[in-house]
């Protein structure tokens, strides 16, 4: 379903959705872009620079309570009650999602879906509508979505894709959820004219050209990785790594987690079982209780990150686990550049 929405009407569309929690990227007081929940008064604004934290934080929050447990004591008899804690009901709409971020969601769907589905993720996913915005100009210097089988207007994972046509948006509802969102404010939309569709075409083609950074032959690299597990390359590339979690925590497709019991009272026993983000970049990620660590150094951890994204994931899903948003490049405190590392992989030995 294709529609047209004037930019003036955008805000009203947002207002129409008051029964859902609406998120969109905003400039925070300290000058950062971030997806934040809109208050009643807020005017929807789109087309912004890249946020530091991707919308992953809404679909796959950094802390998810999986269950709550509490113990009751009768004399010496103790009974432990365990109760699952699914995310609360309530529809969510996220505006201004970048196509790469949409694709990231699409990758998370694969991880948390399939044979074993993750109820927590899916409950959030199902009640969330992603309203994407095609990138007219790349939101980041380091965008390279086109190199990893994405594009500034790719539709995977999104429910709606907006394309900026100057004074109006071209609205394409991609899923039922998306259509529902549009029909919720039917009167705000007009039907597109043929020239609109042409313009969209133009905008999309043009935008792809604006992407400066490129990772050439990603598939070749993926193949090449198989032979390089023990290469000294990793030591060299990891020299300046400081083993922080920036690249992974802020990656829209990284999804590793840790599960802990947060004991709130020892007697009677009470607490929560929580899932929190974790990252292969932390030394204790693979630490065994024996003290042995199969990934003892940062080289092996850098390698793991790249292998997961460009080899293991490809083997399982035939997709890269990288959407080319470039956050890991932009935000790395020591300027480690995934593109140049992978380029080295490609040129390695040849």
């Amino acid at each position: 379903m294709d529609k047209i929405l004037t930019k003036k009407a955008l805000a009203r569309w947002g207002k129409k959705l008051r029964d859902s929690r609406v998120f969109f990227p905003r400039l925070s007081a300290d000058g950062r872009w971030d997806y934040v929940e809109a208050a009643a008064a807020d005017e929807l604004t789109l087309d912004v620079r890249q946020t530091a934290v991707p919308p992953k934080k809404i679909l796959f929050p950094q802390r998810e309570v999986l269950a709550e447990f509490s113990e009751t004591v009768e004399g010496t008899a103790k009974t432990l009650e365990l109760k699952e804690a699914l995310p609360e009901d309530g529809s969510v709409v996220i505006f201004g999602v970048r196509p790469c971020e949409g694709r990231a969601a699409w990758l998370l769907d694969k991880v948390f879906g399939g044979e074993f589905t993750d109820p927590y993720y899916w409950k959030r996913r199902d009640q969330t509508t992603l309203v994407g915005l095609a990138c007219g100009t790349p939101p980041s210097e380091n965008c390279f979505c086109t190199s990893v089988e994405g594009s500034p207007h790719s539709e995977e994972g999104l429910d709606i894709l907006l394309t900026d046509l100057g004074d109006r948006y071209f609205v394409r509802a991609l899923t039922e959820k998306g259509e529902r969102l549009v029909s919720a404010a039917r009167d705000l939309f007009q039907n597109p004219k043929p020239e609109d569709k042409k313009k969209v075409q133009a905008v999309h083609e043009e935008s792809a050209g604006k992407i400066k950074r490129q990772l050439k032959e990603a598939r070749v690299i993926s193949e090449k990785l198989t032979g390089l597990f023990d290469s000294p390359l990793w030591d060299d590339e990891a020299m300046s790594c400081i083993r922080c979690g920036v690249c992974t925590y802020l990656c829209p497709s990284c999804h590793c987690f840790d599960i802990n019991d947060e004991i709130e009272s020892a007697s009677p026993l009470q607490g929560k079982r929580v899932r929190t983000w974790d990252t292969c970049q932390f030394p204790d990620f693979t630490m065994h209780s024996s003290g042995h660590n199969p990934r003892p150094d940062k080289a092996s951890r850098l390698r793991q990150r790249l292998y997961h994204k460009f080899r293991y994931f490809v083997e399982v899903y035939d997709k890269f686990m990288c959407v080319g948003c470039g956050r890991c490049i932009t935000l790395c405190p020591v300027g480690i550049d995934i593109i140049s590392v992978l380029d080295k992989v490609k040129s390695h030995g040849s």
Binding site: L250, T276, P333, G335, D337, I339
Partner: protein, 343 residues
């Protein structure tokens, strides 16, 4: 900054004569303008070395990796590592010496004086450029910073771009070095803790509001401690994996190791984490500002460490990173230490 060429010559000599294992310096990153750490192993590579106001990193951090590697290898290469140090970085070296983490012989220090300038704050730069992409950032004459962009070059007074900590720096040339580029010109700082005032003058409630907002942002990616040269512990106490784990520790005890805080990045836990970091840096932080720079969420961590630096100096007359022979701040006392807060 022309003198940097002397350092490069020195570096080349050191490598040719095999006097150092390798040299840790700066080179230009993939963005084509900002410096990143470089590990120079051959004389040929020396040309990659750059020195400009984007050389923000405190390379001292990499001595920690070096020590780990050394301890792991069977017959370690005992030659020193060449290390480029600014004033602040050199004070980090002093603290590492003071805490016997390294020996003076482990490093060959290529000191660079910031003279009247320092390094830039890329956030300030971005604001100045309003979306323009820099191609090169250099220190021009008369303390101005020259930025070349595709749209042409522009000159800005250093003060407008320098990192706050540089503006409050009291050691803008290395306190310890083997060779030095640039002159030991002391910059006059009338208010070494000026940046704290705007927080200190707030009421308790306002201060709490401020810090809660800031620390709520924290996602505990630990970039702050990872980039900090003082955070060289093999394992941070807030992680406490091995603590009190001995041969006779039961699996259950391992499972129930001390959790000073939960992994959840929640306000209360973030407070504990940042408290521990701040207090552990008391008398050790040399204000290289790396934690704040590395933070992807722009938490003004420097204000925490700077506060304790201020208290240490005002309460105990202690300044970190100037004398490796002194005992650590919390490993000594004076009879006249203030105790007005004690009943």
């Amino acid at each position: 900054m022309a003198k940097i060429d002397e350092l490069k010559e020195e570096a080349r000599k050191l490598l040719q004569e095999g006097k150092v294992k390798y040299i840790i310096g700066y080179t230009t990153g993939t963005d084509g303008w900002s410096a990143v750490p470089a590990f120079i192993r051959t004389a040929e590579e020396v040309d990659r070395i750059v020195w400009d106001p984007t050389c923000v990193h405190n390379l001292t951090k990499f001595l920690v990796d070096e020590k780990r590697r050394k301890s792991r290898s069977r017959k370690p290469d005992t030659r020193p590592v060449g290390l480029f140090v600014k004033g602040c970085d050199s004070r980090a070296v002093v603290v590492l010496l003071q805490e016997k983490f390294i020996n003076r012989g482990d490093v060959y220090l290529l000191g660079v004086s910031c003279e009247k300038a320092g390094v830039i704050d890329d956030r300030k730069l971005a604001q100045k450029l309003k979306g323009k992409k820099p191609m090169k950032v250099e220190l021009g004459d008369n303390g101005r910073i020259v930025i070349s962009t595709p749209e042409g070059t522009l000159e800005v007074p250093a003060e407008e771009l320098l990192a706050d900590r540089c503006l409050e720096c009291r050691a803008n040339f290395p306190v310890v070095f083997d060779v030095l580029a640039g002159d030991k010109v002391k910059r006059a700082v009338e208010k070494p803790y000026g940046s704290l005032e705007k927080i200190e003058k707030l009421t308790a409630e306002e201060r709490f509001k401020f810090w809660k907002e800031q620390l709520d942002k924290c996602i505990r990616c630990y970039a702050c401690r990872s980039v900090c040269p003082m955070c060289y512990c093999d394992e941070c106490v807030v992680d406490s994996v091995n603590l009190s784990v001995t041969a006779d520790t039961s699996a259950e005890e391992k499972a129930q190791r001390i959790k000073w805080l939960q992994r959840s990045a929640e306000s209360s836990e973030n407070f504990v984490y940042h408290f521990v970091r701040a207090i552990h840096l008391g008398g050790r932080c040399i204000d290289c500002g790396e934690c704040e720079r590395a933070c992807p969420l722009d938490i003004p961590l420097r204000f925490l460490n700077k506060k304790l630096e201020k208290e240490a100096s005002e309460l105990f007359g202690y300044e970190a990173g100037f004398d490796a022979e002194l005992p650590a701040l919390i490993a000594c006392f004076r009879d006249e230490d203030p105790q007005d807060f004690i009943r």
